[in-house]
Symmetry: C2
Subunit: 239 residues, 2 copies
């Protein structure tokens, strides 16, 4: 082996690893910021806090810039460093995951907009318990999906993806509670639609967290599992 070429190769590979580490770090910063946006949006809704809701809406621009910057960094890594195999899968998984994070922030901003409408009427007239429970589940799903990403843990990711069923069933329970409320107070319909949209936004956040888990599995094992039955995959990976 030519030692100069070897050193050069090492140099390139070190630079490449530094680039990857940098972009991974930026993605996690973005993830932390998105988690904060979600937590504050839920808080603003449950406490009918318009000040906090306005902050969430304002901060959404910061998330948008973060996503564009990281996306650009990933494009540069692909163009300049030409990663292959698992490195390429990592970069492509980041490109996809930051898009889901950006959407989670968007949905959080929608929850914050509903919170402002709610605050104009005083307080959330129904569903506080349900929102708290559903909020707990989606926040945990987001947190654990980011955690699985950091640890390159496909099994943990699959487990989080499976738990999306809990989000769906909490969502259905909350939706029934809202419909009962509106049926008893038909005049509230126009106002309560805002609350229904917020509920829908939370369900979508659960879906995006599940997407992130699917990107983790793709990144680690190289298989696109989005449209497969999750139980089958768990069997296959553990079998």
């Amino acid at each position: 082996m030519n030692s100069t070429a070897g050193l050069h190769g090492l140099h390139i590979s070190q630079q490449f690893n530094a680039d990857l580490e940098e972009v991974r770090k930026h993605m996690l910063e973005m993830g932390g910021k998105v988690e904060k946006q979600l937590a504050e949006a839920l808080d603003a809704l449950i406490n009918a806090d318009s000040g906090k809701a306005s902050d969430v809406i304002k901060e959404d621009d910061v998330i948008d810039s973060m996503e564009m910057k990281i996306d650009e960094e990933c494009n540069l890594i692909i163009a300049l460093r030409q990663p292959a195999a698992s490195d390429l899968r990592l970069v492509l998984a980041i490109i996809k995951a930051i898009r889901d994070l950006e959407r989670i922030a968007d949905e959080s901003a929608k929850i914050a907009k509903a919170a402002i409408k709610v605050s104009e009427q005083g307080r959330l007239p129904s569903g506080i318990v349900e929102f708290r429970r559903l909020g707990h589940f989606v926040q945990r799903a987001l947190n654990q999906s980011l955690d699985a990403f950091v640890r390159h843990d496909a099994e943990a990711a699959l487990q989080v993806a499976q738990e999306d069923q809990n989000v769906d069933s909490e969502y259905a329970t909350a939706m029934r509670a809202m419909i009962t409320y509106i049926s008893n107070e038909p005049d509230s319909l126009s106002f309560m639609l805002n609350v229904l949209w917020a509920l829908r936004a939370m369900e979508r956040i659960g879906d995006h967290a599940k997407n992130i888990c699917e990107h983790v599995v793709y990144m680690v094992v190289g298989t696109d599992i989005r449209h497969e039955n999750l139980d089958d995959i768990v069997d296959r990976l553990s079998g």
Copy 2:
């Protein structure tokens, strides 16, 4: 220039162009299929046709497979051919656009599910005119965004993205009509929520068509315009 290297370079570049052409072709096939799914879902909803709605729901798997296959083709192109600059932007724009197409198909399947609920009750009780109008706008937006992609036409793409305002205002009109209907027929609430979700799905399809346009602009001029004011960009590009 070494003529062997030249021929070799030519050979690689021909193969690369053939790969790109292939993946572009597959994306357009997928686009055509998604357009058909959307048209049939709308038709099923407006005519309360459960048979047609079931077909749309069944065919959604085909779209999912198309997206995974094209995504894999793009990953291979990046890994094996290491495209740079505008070629890389094309491949990344395809990866993003097929994801929007897959989401449009998902939303179309949701419209089809609402169509089945509607068919169980007989017919769409309100909003046929509004659904037709909104349907017309989102179908046109999808068609023109795909067209702008094929022709690498950033100006056309920007124009389609701006017309998303029409979708939003048609959506607001339709939503008001639904709320008036439910207010007069409070017992219809639980059923009418299905219709509201279908309406919401159409608005989201408009958003995804707009996203595709934004990928076209990124692909052609290399700028990520998603979070900018569209009027400013039009001024800049034409100025």
